[in-house]
């Protein structure tokens, strides 16, 4: 333990099955109020599809060869992956860590801090899976899914959720207080929500913005993959999108756990 304080931010943490016990705790809290929790992802996409998809869509030319409503539908699924996992591992994790002192209670047992954080990240990914699958169900009910490949979207949601959870946890590890989550929310999440090929094709953007969004915005890759699977339009570029996520996820997972260790174990 003496060496812990000086470990590098990229050293691989040791995680055992015990991380799932932390995940299970979060799941049990979620299930206590499941009716409230299932409500938003069920209702919100309906408004987007009706208002933006059919309403605004009447004025908008097809995007990437798709009717406007069919273009934004898969994006709504990808956006819910991002929102649910990112906010779970920022605000909700911070409340558990700082206000409820839940992490402190758990690390007094044989569970290590690394495992607590890993459990939180797994739970953030699970929230992404749950919420985006509900949104996918709504989109499906509107007849906007046209390929059996859509069955691969829930596993993708878990992976994308893991990535956003890890990024969120990095902010949680360095935020001085809960209000400061405004910075990542409005400087990182909101631009991504708008600029990731979600509500209009990113080809409409100026070249440099396009390049930046392809290199730096994880939601861009999640949207491309989700859209490809929902309408069965596979192209080699999807491999690049998947590779981006597969490389970034372990990097941010390891970084977030080490940053949290640095914050909580001094």
């Amino acid at each position: 333990m003496k060496a812990d304080a000086s470990t590098s931010l990229l050293s691989v943490p040791q995680i055992s099955y015990r991380a799932w016990k932390v995940w299970r705790r979060d799941l049990e809290v979620f299930m206590k109020t499941y009716k409230v929790n299932f409500f938003p992802p069920l209702v919100e996409p309906i408004f987007y599809l009706v208002g933006l998809g059919f309403g605004l869509g009447g004025f908008v030319q097809p995007q990437e060869g798709l009717r406007y409503v069919a273009f934004i539908a898969p994006a709504l699924v990808a956006i819910s992956m991002m929102f649910s996992s990112f906010f779970e591992c920022t605000y909700a994790s911070f409340v558990r860590m700082y206000y409820q002192k839940t992490f402190g209670a758990i690390i007094a047992t044989p569970i290590s801090l690394e495992e607590v954080i890993a459990g939180e990240l797994l739970w953030g990914a699970t929230k992404s899976l749950i919420n985006s699958t509900i949104v996918l169900g709504v989109v499906f009910a509107f007849g906007l899914v046209s390929s059996p490949l859509f069955l691969l979207i829930p596993p993708l949601a878990f992976l994308v959720g893991l990535l956003f959870s890890a990024m969120a946890m990095c902010f949680t590890a360095i935020t001085p207080n809960i209000d400061s989550f405004n910075y990542p929310s409005f400087l990182f999440i909101t631009p991504m929500f708008i600029l990731s090929g979600t509500f209009f094709s990113s080809h409409n953007l100026p070249g440099t913005v396009q390049t930046i969004s392809k290199i730096f915005l994880p939601l861009y890759h999640a949207v491309q993959l989700t859209r490809g699977l929902a309408i069965g339009r596979l192209s080699p570029s999807l491999l690049f999108n998947l590779a981006w996520i597969l490389v970034a996820t372990p990097f941010f997972l390891v970084l977030s756990i080490n940053l949290m260790k640095r914050r909580l174990i001094r």
């Binding site: 333990m1 003496k2 812990d4 304080a5 015990r18 016990k21 299970r24 705790r25 049990e28 809290v29 206590k32 409820q100 002192k101 839940t102 402190g104 209670a105 758990i106 690390i107 007094a108 047992t109 044989p110 569970i111 290590s112 801090l113 174990i265 001094r266």
Partner: protein, 306 residues
Amino acid sequence: MSSEILIKAEGLTKKFDDFLAVDKIDFQVFKGECFGFLGPNGAGKTTTMRMVQCVLPLSDGNLWVSEMDVSREGREIKKMIGVAPQEDNLDPDFTVLHNLVVYARYFDIPKKEATRRGEELLRFVQLDEKKEVIIDELSSGMKRRLILARALINEPRILILDEPTTGLDPQARHLIWDKIRNLKKEGVTIVLTTHYMEEAAQLCDRTVIMDLGKIIEEGKPLELIKQHVGEEVLEVAYDEEVLKFLQGTFPDARLEVSGDRIQVFTNQTRGVFSQILNKYSFKSAMIRDTNLEDVFLKLTGRRLKE
């Protein structure tokens, strides 16, 4: 109490950036005893506890629990320790019993056994009627009792109690003290921190007094009292002439003026003060037994610590 050493610290040190919270302390806790860390706020008691619990890495020195090194075998040590922290970190989303069952799961205790132990512990801390109540509806005394029950869910050999009764009313405090005594009888080794001197005198076999990260005194409560402040103390209202008279009468005594009171401490046997009071009368004079608080104030001073 046996001679088997359960916790042993050598040169234990904890540094936070430039702040030395625990400064090269040595201590030993024997199996079956109740060992107390006394000290003002900020003395380093909780930091020491957190190192024993294996949640805070040491900056220097060595610390063994049951002959295991805390730096290497934290997981094994945590299995045999029960911790009741100072702050309320119960799970507000769960009921009383569910808090215990979820906590038991962290120790790999199967659900059926966890429920059995949980219900038994709730009877032990007299919360069985509150089993299905949500945490928010408990009083602070009930929360402390639940935290104590939670600390016992893994049937620990060592129980760490960080200020177990701070902020409680007398009834709740005495109930907790009773439970701690019961546990000690059952052979649980207890380490507690407190700044209530009465608590230490009531519960602890041995204590150390900490101040500014160092252990400044160690011993049995009664011996510490006798050694540092004698058996009795005479208190009278402050008056310059009375002070001079007392200095003349008790040349070896330690006279302390605090506020509008003079306190006279002496190593002489019981009765010297009553002889004086039989002869002279002072304004609002009283003789009382010395206590650990007198020792504490003598050793750590009267200044505020924070």
